[in-house]
Symmetry: C2
């Protein structure tokens, strides 16, 4: 079966926000065997919405729409759905109660008329409860196509999709199984990988698809298959993946299935009982932020310091001033000292330090923009790696962050 | 004139990556008066790409396509363009040289045949140079519609769009001016705002559009207009915006035009010569990361500490153990002490501290999930605010981060 996602909102089309809803919905649909045929972002405009609904009906069994359900005048999805389905609005008592409850609980006041108007819904719609907001979702059918309308606020949409929409899709549609497995590789470009696995790629059977996903400093290789027998397609993908892995052992760092590299690091640290601390200069908190976003980080993460000013590396972290003087603040020696001092300061098993020039400008007598040193201190010793990450600033920060996760995973995966 | 953006890649439709290219392109087009009619994300599939190109031709003057230009077999955009335009591939000597140069400079080796194949381009295409990668862009025309193909790698695309595509669009198309102005408000819901400004909204002339953009703890209000006279539409929007501002002075924190709240904070700190440090517990580095992403942060940002483990708040930051013992680590007293200790430790003018329970679980005897204290220490004294940010984890972190920027902006904007 095929699905289409339609996200409504002028703010998407003028680039004021990035549409993250579509990726979330696609991922969740994929897990239950629903293939997304197309994602379309359109304006808060009645004619445009009607056209998009009509087009989607031609090629999708399921159309998921987000946005345009707010209490203000620029939100017109509900009225447009009414027109598309030739329906009229009626009051839904459960939704009305939900709105009153939410106002009482979170805002300690009565809803305004505009909020109460959100309880008016198309008479033929099945109402989907919004546990975290006042706009209800709608499930409606036209001929053989199901149309679902959800709020655009990511937090409200996610809850509604997970708890209301997906269980209903599972019940009402026959779906094949889709299985993806993704191998993470670091340190080799996609064309070199393609050359090395050319024979493998040529020999792949038609029902197994290979995709290359290059990003800063790493390439992900995804094998996918679709079929009715869940076990069979899993086995077929896994079989071919293990051949692929063998061809790339020197650059592979593991699989990414449901878990990210950060989650894998988190799981290993917790299992082995290792504690971690960070001294982030050029990454400025980016690594700590990613680590602490994972629930349970407090079990192994002791903390971090961003000694942005050179003096703070000396005062707080304890890097010897002579070392900074002699080698400059962006140097292998200072990265090594930062990692060692950080490990001691936080009393952690492992410490990672970054120092580099993110740019756009470099200080006097410093290394060129994009130069980064990463130090990793463990009970067994301290190693330092040097990189040239080019430009611009965000890219240097992102590449350094990715590289730290790569080095850290390799380090903690050792026996 | 109208534009359509088509992003190609299975990885988008299975939710493996979030499409950030579209937002960037939309924003840039908007600045030069090009309205984006629709954004469509489709699979790496020839028939689907052909259909999307055909559909886009019906309603757009300019179609910008990203993705599918890599050197591997799953990249089929170029061949599909050839089919759509009835064209054949020829070798472009400048592109060939660019590929060789890039390999020599960044990889210190010769390109592979698959890389050299990237120099084959449709014979009627105007070639757009890729300064940061091997895949060239293409500019082609069919009847009255211009089709542009760019790489999907955000970094390569951004450079090509800015340096090759936009200047050409400006030269070749007549465009109206589009002007948006966005007011940032904090602390009031969109329906309450709508009620307060009901009369204003009803009185708005038809050519000025108002949009509400609610997100965690804040609502942005955007006024937009389009026209041929640049000064006139700016003045009209500014006139209405000043009326709107007067209606919302108690919750408005300023305008967001080209700049984000982080950039505004950055500019004020630099202008006033204030230095800043952070002690981030529950936000775990998120605030430092956002601040250090802005170029020039080293001029005012002394550094930060994430004392994730309670003991580190005592050992490194210097919060008295008795205070933690008496009030618990998530308390107004500890937030205050963290801010004061941080200010002292980093010797900064201003220090901000966060402590809270991001969840999903809470420690023994601690406050409920979502409780957050924010402390701000300045030469004039220290204030602490308490918030209940609910769930889930990422939302608590994001809401706290937004709130810190709001408080900080207000604090440093005082005389």
């Amino acid at each position: 079966m095929l699905a289409e996602i339609i996200t409504i909102g002028d703010e998407i089309l003028i680039g004021q926000i990035v549409d993250t809803n579509s990726a979330f919905i696609s991922k969740e649909l994929n897990k239950i065997g629903v293939q997304v045929y197309q994602i379309t972002s359109i304006q808060d405009d009645k004619e445009h919405i009607l056209q998009a609904l009509k087009d989607a009906k031609d090629h999708a069994d399921l159309v998921l729409v987000t946005g345009g359900l707010g209490p203000t005048k620029d939100d017109i999805t509900k009225h447009t759905f009414c027109e598309f389905f030739g329906d009229t609005l009626v009051q839904d008592s459960e939704t009305l109660q939900n709105i009153k409850d939410i106002f009482l609980k979170y805002l300690q006041r009565d809803p305004l008329p505009a909020n109460l108007e959100q309880a008016m819904v198309p008479s033929s719609a099945i109402i989907l409860k919004n546990a975290h907001g006042t706009a209800p979702g709608m499930w409606m059918k036209k001929d053989k196509t199901v149309f679902v309308s959800m709020p655009g606020v990511p937090y409200e949409m996610k809850y509604m999709l997970t708890n209301e929409v997906l269980p209903r899709v599972i019940r009402e549609f026959n779906r094949p199984h889709i299985y993806h497995k993704t191998l993470l590789t670091y340190g080799m470009g996609e064309s070199s990988i393609a050359k090395r696995i050319e024979q493998f790629e040529n020999d792949l059977p038609g029902d197994i698809k290979l995709a290359y996903l290059p990003s800063l400093g790493r390439v992900r290789l995804r094998l996918s298959a679709k079929g009715t027998d869940r076990e069979k397609i899993r086995n077929r993908v896994n079989e071919h993946m293990s051949v692929l892995y063998d061809l790339l052992t020197d650059i592979a760092v593991g699989y990414e299935e449901e878990t990210t590299i950060q989650e894998r690091i988190s799981a290993i640290l917790e299992r082995k009982g290792y504690s971690l601390s960070l001294a982030e200069s050029c990454t400025g908190g980016a690594i700590a932020h990613e680590i602490t976003t994972i629930p349970g980080a407090s079990k192994y993460f002791k903390g971090s310091i961003t000694p942005y000013e050179t003096q703070q590396k000396i005062n707080i972290l304890g890097v010897p001033a002579e070392l900074v003087e002699k080698h400059s603040v962006v140097s292998a020696q200072v990265a090594e000292a930062m990692a060692n001092c950080c490990r001691k300061l936080f009393n952690s098993d492992i410490a990672v330090a970054t120092t580099g020039i993110a740019g756009p400008t470099k200080g006097d007598g410093q290394a060129e923009v994009g130069t980064v040193f990463i130090g990793i201190a463990t009970p067994k010793g301290t190693r330092v790696e040097e990189y040239k990450f080019g430009k611009p600033r965000e890219r240097v920060i992102a590449k350094t962050t990715n590289k730290v996760f790569e080095l850290l995973l390799k380090e903690i995966s050792k026996n």
